[in-house]
Symmetry: C2
Subunit: 223 residues, 2 copies
DNA sequence: ACACAAACAGGTATTTATACCTATGCTTTG
DNA sequence: CAAAGCATAGGTATAAATACCTGTTTGTGT
């Protein structure tokens, strides 16, 4: 008999975490060796662990602790660096195509939307354990689309939001005008508008309302 | 021995639904007699059911089917009318105080935030079954605050968004300008701006970004 | 029948946001 | 070193949103 697949779960919503555990228990090939309610402490906790998980299921929309940035994407990047042997399976409520590709590019081995069924969870984990990755057709398409965008030389591709742009975006979502943001960041209004224009381009939005939904979707701001 | 508490679950995310079921199974006083992935069909399904649930757990953020409006709030109102004997326990990811009060006012018997722990789920269901309601301190405070707002005579209270305002709000969130909304709704731009002004007042927002977050928070639009 | 709120429409004025440009100093990366 | 992206700042225009008003019609509830 093969040894069990060691699974870790990083998910802030306790109810959901318990739910996943309860589902995984149905198959006795899984063993839950690690749990965390936030992304912030995961690396530290893993370093103290002797029995590392083979696969870590990570919620994309982890809440930020204090002012620290620690979304599922940040954690994925950190894991790829410090624990490359651990495979990352992303769990997300959203269905953002750009973000799927972004995550896979940054070291995630699979992407599951939270409205999938338990069987798909099973399949995803087994596929990652055996073949190293689980890419369903939807995610595959997202990656291809993302590639296609980059292939086009003319169109400025979304290299994703720069730190400064993210600051402007956050303040914009908090109902601050460009003038107020300029004051807060000690920069010119022109610069703020420049950042906003770049944001509109990068996110493909027409106006600030698009920026707000983008920010919420991608967990740049929390509700 | 007392008879089991019959529980129904209305939740679109299968994984979460399975999770809740898995948790409830831990206590043998619960019996799951009903399940639905959408709010739209719940009333119909219940009418065909002989063994009605005592308590229905309803996800607040149910996705709308087609153009039909069927959020947790709509379902709660419909249930209160057609099946007043079924107690409604709301499950929500958000923590919006106004919405809590609104739901309780419209017939919900309890409100649980999704990041609560399994024990609280147990307590909530048992409390509703035995005492008819489960109001924790946070929800209680929300109701009190909501009451307090209404007590103030001067301040225009949020009588909540009128249907037309909601239409304008939705289109605004979809990045349409006032002109475009006017065209779509066959009304004057002036009227659209009037609705927008009212929305700003009612929601206490400074600009459209505030409207978008309000709409998302209150599930008027989905992500 | 009256009060009230919603939906509608209009006006004026100001403030913000957006669309296009250019341009420079500074990193990072190939 | 060259190329690229970032952050900065500026200009010129127009489009859009917001802050104030006034008013009519219609339907609903008391």
């Amino acid at each position: 008999m093969k040894s069990k697949i060691k699974v870790g779960i990083v998910e802030d919503q306790l109810l959901f975490r318990e739910g996943i555990k309860a589902i995984l228990i149905n198959w006795d090939i899984f063993e839950i060796v690690f749990e965390s309610a936030d992304g912030f402490s995961v690396i530290d906790k893993l370093e103290k662990l002797t029995d590392l998980p083979d696969i870590l299921m990570v919620d994309l929309s982890l809440p930020p602790l204090d002012k620290k940035e620690y979304s599922g994407l940040h954690l994925t990047i950190a894991l790829a660096e410090k624990f490359p042997e651990i495979k990352v399976l992303i769990l997300s409520v959203h269905n953002d195509e750009n973000f799927m590709a972004e995550l896979i590019k940054n070291g995630a081995h699979g992407y599951l939307v939270k409205d999938c069924n338990p069987l798909e969870v099973y399949q995803a984990i087994v596929a990652i354990a055996e073949k190293g990755s689980y890419i369903n057709s939807r995610v595959l398409k997202a990656i291809q689309d993302s590639m296609a965008k980059k292939a086009k030389p003319g169109k400025k591709l979304l290299t994703y939001i720069s730190p400064r742009e993210e600051e402007v975006l956050k303040l914009t979502c908090q109902q601050f005008t460009a003038d107020e943001i300029a004051e807060k960041l000690f920069i010119s209004v022109k610069t703020v508008n420049g950042h906003r224009n770049n944001l509109l381009l990068k996110t493909g939005s027409r106006n600030v309302t698009g920026l707000v939904t983008f920010a919420i979707r991608n967990n740049i701001v929390q509700l």
